[in-house]
Amino acid sequence: MLNQSRPITMAVLAMGGEGGGVLADWCIDIAEHSGYWAQTTSVPGVAQRTGATIYYLEFFADDQSNKEPILSTMPTPGEVDIVIASELMEAGRAVFRGFVTPETTTFIASTNRVYSMTEKTAMGDGRVSSEELLSACEAAAKKFISGDFAEVADKSGTVISASLFGALAGSGALPFSKDQFASAIERSGVGVKNSLIAFEKSFEIAQNSLKPKPNPVSISIGAKPADAPTANLGLTPAQELEILNNPNGAVGSKLQGLASRIKSDYPSAVTLMTISGIKRTADYQDADYAKVYLDRLEAVKECDSVFGDGTYRTLNEVARYTALWMTYEDTIRVADLKTRRTRFNRVNDEARVGDNQIMQVREFLHPMAEEIADTLPTFLGGWIIKTKPVTNFINKLTINGMRLHTTSLHGYFLLYILARLKFIRRRSLRFNLEQERIDQWLTKILAVMPENYDLAYEIAESANVIKGYGDTHKNGWRNFTSLMSEVDKLRESKDSTAATRISTLRSAALSDETGEKLRALL
């Protein structure tokens, strides 16, 4: 009869530079100190530069025969006792590769996301749903331990290897005591104090997540999916309810009248969005501008109540994009936002300014002739745009961009004065252009809604392709006009798949910078 004892197997999926090697070394250290045979291998190759990498470890209890066991250098799908993933998509990869199995695996996954290049470079929202990844992980594991171990590490002033090590200790998946784990950190001698703090916290997270739960605990992992219905304004259900019950309580004195209008005239499905909309437009210009905003929605509301499906989803999106469009980012707005106290505080927090530290901020601004002309009164702005020598002269002056020291007096004054130019905005070149464009867009929605509600919704959503500054904004506008002329064509041919077609084109417009994919589809 053969000796049936098997080694304990463990795979660590990490990205280069996260300390996966340190974690593996600690594990080897405890094992060897506890009389185990231990082996680790990795295939770092070029992966030390942010690529995905796997460390594979095996432990085998010394049975006193002192004979060396034969340990594997590679994981076998279905036979991995412990899998640790330092990030949620890497956790998904562990599941995908079959390392995590419901009969065998204790699975420790950090829920933080390090977005892939594909997710990052999308023009819109290219993120893979965290919920989907998380539920796949949970379904695949025998025991599943999750938590934002990157955040734990960050708050403790150390790196994720320390918190994952704590979670491993807390999981009880290795036959070593908590003290044995901790002493491996102590022996390593580097950043011991902070590593132990992260170790402790993560140990607890792991222990708690192994306790039987009376109710399924919802795990907060940051972003909600972008396509969630209703307003999805990042509020808690309690906050949402409060605004729904009392819209007036969500706004200040200048907007009470508009809030009352929303409460009495508008369906509750759009309350959250419209309340945000009036606040945004008022913040951008003034309370009158907020009134203009709500007046714009009036006709769409009437139309949606007649031709809609009762969800008011088109009205909701119109409320969203009208507000965003009306608060387009001109130099005045940018200066306004950059000079506020809330912004200063945010930047301070982000830079983690501590005691005996001072922070300075420099902006990287690059105003071009067009942007300057946009802000000026229509006649002056128009003249600059038309008069090439003037345009060229301004561009020459600004070609190298400016670095403005916002925390200095002269820098702050400059931005402050620019922000105070709000009073000329209503007469500026861009303002009039954008109001015209908004109204054309709304007119089209109103015209289409009676014939094809879904298409009207798509037209509303299409406003999302217009974004960015400079060339990006120009490309966005060009894509938008292409979409709108396609809408016209589809209406003429009475195409029943019009909405689907526009939806596809909309995604194409957001998939690259140049509009290449959109042109290919057109």
Binding site: Q39, T41, T76, L133, L337, Q357, N400, L409
Partner: protein
């Protein structure tokens, strides 16, 4: 090595006889070399053998004590040629490089070396970069061993076995006057384990003895008629000597022969995987006590015909577990068995994958198929491992639980703060004006440009061959030029002559960008000729510009700060649109940030501790002015520049954001300017231990700005509810 110390590893090299040595595989090989009385060591760095070079580079005291010469060879060809020292003299020498790329470069010298044969043991330690984690084309070193008749050892992935094979390799080389190649797979190099050490040995015949007593023998030089004699000698003298040595020393192992009437033949390097497969099938214990007879080829070339025949003839069938293609060993075994008229069936690639790495899953499947055919009663159908469990038998644990498109590939990319990234940002911007160019890439970190978001680079033909790879693109019918890239590592390896010299001589028109980051960075940050650091053992600070001017290039521009995107872009434009004919060189020079941080982080921490004024920069993005179009990411690709959920409740798309890992390299700001992106980028400067002047300025600014901010808030009253 300028910015990393291997002092801890060097200490391990001093471990004496009887003591336990614990560490990585490649470090064990380093120790084994010292134990076996080696006289000289050379090599070219590259994964997975860089560590051997790096540690020896720091171990000069030990090397001096033992009378060993160590050098960082200019290329693998240089390293292989170094073994010439073992031709006439009883000197043991070892060289190391990554294979097969290094072996490709070295093959001229290796062929000459093997033709004439050696007197002292000559060992070529190749890091077989094959399978998962590999960064090169998937080929086998086996072919080089066969073509030049170099014996090939493939030890078990176990430190004791690896260390023993170094000693055996030297002795085999001396016994058969033939160089020996020691093949270490990626994982074997990075494996952590232990072995019992021996004392380091000072060679009895030293380099000094050789230098002072020179020998010459035309019979050892590759020139007719000696070259014809070499071929005969290889087959008639050296081969039988090797076979004799391998048999006498029982380098290949036979386990539990006679237990079954079938068996498995395997490469030594796959031993652990095969044992694991057998264990999971219930056919072995964890100590390798296999129920199935095994013949383990710790030497995979030459094949010992007698041993094969002996193992096979008593069996109905044998399965050969041979990784990689072509199936050299399988073909060899078929020939051996056929010639000896042995009727035993031989299975190999028909039961195992014909190509690719032999993972446990593949090996389990192959062995299961074999056993099912010849000994099905040995398998417990109810206890099969998951990968071969029949579907429906019990809840299969390997069903797909996640769609492949949810798990994006995560290839390596430029580090945060990498000075090479702005070069490609600038080129992307220049191409907006000059149109797209054919771009020939090279080997090095800069090759990450071929991946998103840059997608720059059409081909790569080998280390230092970026410029040579563009040499066909010469046509009098167009003014458009092609661009090639080359790293400083590749430049000194061979690019100076193969690329730049070639372009000068052939009067080629075109632009070559030499990325000079002051290190051989992709292989671990080793110093090279143009490195900027002082190195007491090596001569550095030889400028690339001087070298290319010396070889005859007229148009050379050195950019000393690659982060200046606008300047880089304008330089590209002037090279690509100017009227100057002939080769044009841009030396794009900024220090590798990974190595710079290794030096500067501790220095900064020290200054802060001493109470000195220190300014730390990082970048940020205002989420309220970011519109979520991510244009900045598409021309940058920095790991610290990423996306985050939009804090603006009305916007759906994630905003761009900068993580705390930002090192403040400045590319974000430069790119925002050069590409006229958006006004959301800002740079923060956090001053630690500020001066009195800093504090005074802050007091005045806070008072004035605070006053104005009160005004702003007053004007916004009435929008938000009262708190």
């Amino acid at each position: 090595m300028a910015e990393r110390s291997f002092a801890a590893e060097v200490e391990k090299l001093r471990v004496g006889a009887g003591a336990e040595f614990a560490g990585e595989g490649i470090l064990a090989v380093t120790k084994a070399l010292l134990q076996s009385g080696v006289s000289y060591v050379g090599g070219y760095q590259g994964a997975p053998i860089s560590h051997l070079m790096d540690v020896l580079g720091d171990a000069h005291e030990i090397l001096e004590e033992l009378g060993i010469h160590f050098e960082n060879s200019a290329s693998e060809a240089t390293a292989a040629a170094m073994l010439a020292a073992s031709v006439h003299y009883p000197l043991r020498g070892a060289v190391t490089f990554k294979s097969t790329v290094g072996t490709n470069v070295a093959s001229d010298a290796l062929a000459n070396l093997s033709s004439g044969g050696v007197t002292g043991g000559a060992l070529i330690i190749v890091g077989e970069d094959y399978g998962e984690g590999s960064s090169i084309m998937q080929e086998r070193s086996h072919a080089f061993a066969m073509k030049s008749q170099i014996w090939l050892m493939d030890p078990r992935p176990n430190l004791t076995a690896i260390v023993d094979s170094v000693d055996l390799g030297f002795r085999l080389s001396e016994a058969s006057n033939t160089p020996v190649m020691l093949e270490l797979r990626l994982r074997s190099c990075h494996i952590h384990g232990k072995f019992i050490a021996k004392d380091n040995v000072r060679p009895s015949f030293t380099l000094k003895d050789a230098i002072e007593n020179p020998r010459q023998d035309p019979a050892r030089v590759v020139l007719p008629p000696a070259s014809f004699a070499h071929e005969q000698e290889k087959l008639n003298v050296r081969w039988p000597a090797a076979v004799k040595f391998i048999k006498e020393n029982k380098i290949n192992e036979v386990i539990n022969d006679g237990a079954q009437d079938f068996g498995i033949i395997l490469q030594g390097g796959l031993y652990n995987t095969v044992i694991r497969a057998l264990q999971l099938l219930g056919l072995s214990d964890v100590y390798g006590n296999s129920k199935i007879p095994l013949y383990i080829l710790n030497v995979t070339y030459p094949i010992i015909d007698d041993e094969v025949i002996e193992f096979a003839k008593s069996k109905r069938a044998v399965l050969l577990v041979e990784e990689g293609q072509p199936d050299y060993i399988e073909q060899n075994l078929h020939a051996v068995l056929r010639r000896a008229d042995v009727p035993t069936k031989l299975f190999g690639k028909e039961m195992l994958p014909p190509a690719g790495e032999y993972t446990p899953a593949h090996v389990i499947k192959g062995i299961t198929e074999f056993i099912k055919k010849y000994g099905p009663e040995l398998l417990d159908q109810n206890a099969l491992p998951a990968v071969v469990r029949p579907n429906g038998d019990k809840p299969t644990s390997l069903e797909t639980r996640i769609a492949p498109e949810k798990v994006h590939g995560r290839p390596p990319s430029f580090c945060t703060g990498c000075p090479e990234r702005p070069i490609f940002t600038a080129l992307k911007l220049a191409e907006r004006e000059t149109g797209k160019h054919h771009i020939s890439a090279d080997i090095g970190c800069h090759l990450f440009s071929i991946l998103p978001p840059f997608n720059i680079g059409a081909t790569t033909m080998g280390y230092g061959l970026g410029s040579a790879g563009a040499s066909a693109f010469q046509s009098i019918e167009t003014d458009k030029q092609v661009i090639s890239f080359m790293g400083d590592g590749g430049f000194w390896h061979n690019g100076l002559t193969s690329g730049i010299g070639n372009a000068v001589f052939n009067q080629s028109d075109g632009l070559t960008v030499i990325v000079d980051n002051a290190y051989s960075a992709a292989t671990g940050g080793q110093d090279i000729l143009s490195s900027q650091a002082d190195n007491e053992l090596r001569s550095t600070k030889h400028p690339i510009e001087a070298a290319v001017r010396g070889i005859g290039v007229k148009w050379v521009k050195t950019i000393t700060n690659t982060y200046k995107v606008s300047e880089m872009r304008e330089t590209f434009k002037s090279a690509l649109t100017g009227s100057v004919k002939g080769p044009k060189i841009i030396v794009a020079q900024s220090e590798c940030t990974l190595n710079r941080m290794r030096r500067e982080k501790p220095a900064m921490a020290k200054k802060i501790k001493e109470g000195k004024r220190v300014v730390k920069e990082r970048f940020g993005i205002d989420p309220d002015t970011c519109t979520g179009d991510h244009s900045c990411i598409r021309i940058n690709g920095c790991p610290s520049l990423t996306i985050a959920p939009n804090p603006d409740p009305m916007r759906k798309d994630p905003v761009a954001t900068i993580l705390n890992t930002c090192v403040g390299c400045g590319l974000c700001g430069e790119a925002a300017h050069a590409a006229v992106l958006c006004p959301s980028f800002y740079r923060t400067e956090v001053i630690t231990n500020p001066s009195i002047w800093d504090k005074a300025k802050l007091a005045i600014r806070s008072a004035v700005i605070g006053f104005l901010q009160n005004g702003i808030e007053r004007r916004l009253v009435g929008i938000q509810p009262n708190a």
